[in-house]
Symmetry: D2
Subunit: 360 residues, 4 copies
Amino acid sequence: MLGYAFMGKAHSNAFRKLAYMAWPPPLVPRLVAIAGRNEEAVAEAAQRYGYERWTTDWQDVVSDDTIGLFDNGGPNSLHAEPTIAAAEVGKHVLCEKPLGRTAEESFDVWQRVAAAGVKHLCGFNYRFVPAVRLARELIDEGALGEIRHFRGRYLQDWGDDPTLDTWRFDPGQAGSGALGDLGTHVIDLARYLVGEMKSVAGFVKTFLPGRRVDDALEAAVEFESGAVGTIEATRLALGRRNAFQWEINGSDGSLAFDMERMNELQVFTAGESRTRGFRKVLVTETAHPFMEWWWPPGHIVGWGDTFMHEAVHLLRAIADDSDVAPHGATFEDGYRASEIAEAIVRAGETGRRVELEFRT
Amino acid sequence: MLGYAFMGKAHSNAFRKLAYMAWPPPLVPRLVAIAGRNEEAVAEAAQRYGYERWTTDWQDVVSDDTIGLFDNGGPNSLHAEPTIAAAEVGKHVLCEKPLGRTAEESFDVWQRVAAAGVKHLCGFNYRFVPAVRLARELIDEGALGEIRHFRGRYLQDWGDDPTLDTWRFDPGQAGSGALGDLGTHVIDLARYLVGEMKSVAGFVKTFLPGRRVDDALEAAVEFESGAVGTIEATRLALGRRNAFQWEINGSDGSLAFDMERMNELQVFTAGESRTRGFRKVLVTETAHPFMEWWWPPGHIVGWGDTFMHEAVHLLRAIADDSDVAPHGATFEDGYRASEIAEAIVRAGETGRRVELEFRT
Amino acid sequence: MLGYAFMGKAHSNAFRKLAYMAWPPPLVPRLVAIAGRNEEAVAEAAQRYGYERWTTDWQDVVSDDTIGLFDNGGPNSLHAEPTIAAAEVGKHVLCEKPLGRTAEESFDVWQRVAAAGVKHLCGFNYRFVPAVRLARELIDEGALGEIRHFRGRYLQDWGDDPTLDTWRFDPGQAGSGALGDLGTHVIDLARYLVGEMKSVAGFVKTFLPGRRVDDALEAAVEFESGAVGTIEATRLALGRRNAFQWEINGSDGSLAFDMERMNELQVFTAGESRTRGFRKVLVTETAHPFMEWWWPPGHIVGWGDTFMHEAVHLLRAIADDSDVAPHGATFEDGYRASEIAEAIVRAGETGRRVELEFRT
Amino acid sequence: MLGYAFMGKAHSNAFRKLAYMAWPPPLVPRLVAIAGRNEEAVAEAAQRYGYERWTTDWQDVVSDDTIGLFDNGGPNSLHAEPTIAAAEVGKHVLCEKPLGRTAEESFDVWQRVAAAGVKHLCGFNYRFVPAVRLARELIDEGALGEIRHFRGRYLQDWGDDPTLDTWRFDPGQAGSGALGDLGTHVIDLARYLVGEMKSVAGFVKTFLPGRRVDDALEAAVEFESGAVGTIEATRLALGRRNAFQWEINGSDGSLAFDMERMNELQVFTAGESRTRGFRKVLVTETAHPFMEWWWPPGHIVGWGDTFMHEAVHLLRAIADDSDVAPHGATFEDGYRASEIAEAIVRAGETGRRVELEFRT
């Protein structure tokens, strides 16, 4: 594990919990080592989460032959080099999103890791929300018919504090602001649920004086399938704490979702006559994705539990040598999200709609 | 009155009802004449709504000197000529939206009516939803601080019927599809609540084979104030019947609204600590806009009642010789909405962001 | 019409509006006369609502042979005598709820009016909310199976004002407080939707010092069918303005409703597997009760419009000599609601569950 | 640990997770032994949750001197004897609710455990939902003023299956049905939030043929403070999976809650004028109860996490020798909940309101 803060905690919890909740686990993780810059903090994290040892040098982890999976939860500027290094010595890798600070960097990470032949998963954990997976299953089954609209927005408000100082506001460490942090989540779920995008129009925007990264982005998008919609993200939507909301309309039905109520999926099916309306589905049934591991129907899971679902998925891919895709985001998905994010920036700078082209 | 269908009904009801509900009324309307193309239908409408006489020739109404207000609720292709004619003989005019089928036509209507010196109101009735007026009042009082975001979408689903045949699908009569019908509503409220727009990027889209007008539009927009956001409209959002939803985020608070629950306004005010959250305000208090005319708190009004609020506003402007603006949409507002709508079409066609310029 | 205040306004609006909205109307009302105690107020009301004449003596109205329907919207203490007098000279009668101040008085009104052979309707207008009628239709069709639970509560908060002085707080004029005002609405809808009650346990309660009527009631009830549930009403639920909420659970489905969102009905149907959940039905479809008179789907009606539905129902019963029951509340329903209300008081006083017995 | 099924899983997860999430933990649990009737199942549970050993004989656990805390998550019929035995050899005890199958049994458990001088906590875990604790804090601070109403209902629907066979339907093992399982939760939170009850009227009801325990209960209740309300629970509310909903109205404000959205608390504060309304508080702020252990604001916790909060509370009481009350439910609270539950049964059988008396 690289990183002991927000993501380090989320991932460590996932690895500890899956061993008994996702029973029987595909593999039982052994928490060998954790790396971080601050010696005191990383030492405490090791003790807290049960890592066998800690280090302030990530290369120490990379060179440890007893380690089979390298999990990178560090700041964006520390994604590329350690992840590539770990893969190149044969470790499977899990890297938080965005994969790199730029599309170029993301492409490089993907290419070199893929060349190493290891399993790779980019941490778009919202694919592992039960309601999101259920949405994907319904779409795969054709419940929505031909998809016409996707409207996604990721609204937070913690950015409205000019005194706040974090690596997330430092272009060198973060690469971008709301775009890489929140926008890539919207882009990734749009791709996961609706398919690949064809073009984007729009722009990014910075509001707070002195802020060096974007606060928000606004885009009108087209998908290859012909569906159209909008993608938005902002850290300045006062009153919205973690409102990743999306709606999909197809020729046979619609779906709607809000991360602040992540255990619910709104489902509309055409053809219901006098009692037509969106159904509020509480995604906690035994037949729902991931829920066999949890509680009886009606008992909700938390945000942190999505990381456990993600970790189990990766461990199963390792154990069975099965594909991370389509349900897990691969590093190619991570690269493509970055490519689309940059296209929005470019569309804003040039005032022109950008037709997407992906490197392969 | 020109037109006896959907809008004819809504306006006629408004004029009848205001005489006793908006007590004391600024003027008591006398329903002199109604014009329409189908003789049988217009005759029945006259009897139904209590017009003194009916005619199949709108010029008959225009030339009637006892008529002081000409209300145009006909199809879009019948907006310009009769409205201009009525104004030019000195009648005040109320014309449904969109003002014309094109920006050019809308500009012409505005110019010639304004030159006639009569009162003119374009039927953007959603300005007269109590919750919308309350939103405007809160914004005027500075409750939101500096506005940063507007996201508006008008979602309906009745367009998902390839067999449907109405003037609304005929480019000659309607001018455009979802754009003029729904999109202009979003544009008008955006302008009413946030201020003038500066640029638009995006496009319109037609889905159904053989459909000759647009089904949907998607746009990323900038306001002159620096606020940014999205504007969407579609007739193909299955399960959404009249979901005109918008959200505004400012530096001191946020507002959110859904026309399907038009008596509610969601209000967030920054600085509420441990019990921070959006308040669900039921806009039925005596202190709320328009509600002094209605019932005790908690008793909601209906969609049709917004037309009564609008009609009272216009009658008061006539009675007092006061301005229709800012709370009523003037024909200039009608023209500007058309200009912005066309800019979205142009942005789509050219693949370029359009910087808005308004004729004056 | 007797009464020009809250109910006088609601009823007058209904009679004016139905003539053109409920087209073609079963009968076209002529507003002959309005009576009220305050000369100035009743004169203004006559002018406002278009009554041909006014009087301060209700007997004047009763003795007017040109009047065919007597509508009593006065305070509860003025329900019995004028209503009986009007019926006994052959007028059809509409009387606001509660029918009388006591079960005894209600019984007397019912018996004497029924003996007169005229049509009688007690103003439980919530039977005429489209969503409530839809609920009844669904239940009649067996969509819920065997009904097991009814939980109804009518929550308001205007009673939380010790300085307020109205006839509604005067036992002589009102008979009771929340019980007759709000509780009878819950009782009536429970009977309309679930069937007759068998027993009640519970009590009424007065909170504010010096208040001479009850503020709230709480009851656990059994129905003849075996269904069980609760009935509550209060004028002291801060934040609830007109929250008449009820839920019904049956062996095949459930329904839920809130008057503050009166255009919505929540519908659950058993057997929906992976996408099970309550559907939020927006009761504005053309196929929904009463909606053929109104707007296209998605455009909501207001609270006041329920009175128009009620008035049309009564006029049709008069025009066709058809039964007011089962969809309209007859005076027998009015009496039975009072009988049940008093049983709750008696249950509280004696500490014993009361088995209901109705006089016939 | 006694029990390896639903509650065994919930408690085991809590003990494992608190060691690193509730950092620094008051005590680090060592999972010594787990007991259960089925040898194969208990062996697997031991392996799964990491217990050092397993046994089919709970007395084995009781007699193990290395064990300091005995956690009883077995069926109701196994609550009394093992819990008392463990306490009498000096172990602290955590016992699931209901404490006993009858009030008599519950009283006995409380008395004997209290006499042993150990810490005791009865598993009313909903006291440890962050929104519930926040509600309690707001009430303690006087934010609601004098409380007037409590209306609580616990609605599930899994009981609607005549083929289902579980110890929960066996009177010998369960004691009662919805009453002990769900009703005691409502009673406990009513007592925790509003205070002690004074009297109950109402009854229990069994719907399904052949079912040997109650399916539902309905009660009208009075509190010692003068507040009044209703208490309901049912396993037959189709469409409700875990809807423990309650609302509290006071003289200065109101609160409302639904377990299916357990991270939200609806808060109404009197005196908010034009923007009055319930605030939807997302209880995920750092300043909210328990949330310092979790994620940044906006990221919700799950149902299972309440058990961790409960376990930390008990461990802290043990570590610091501090009181389990008032935030934890003691065995006295467990006994009182049983006493009130039985009073509802008695009220139904006798048709009389029951004035509550508690043994001490």
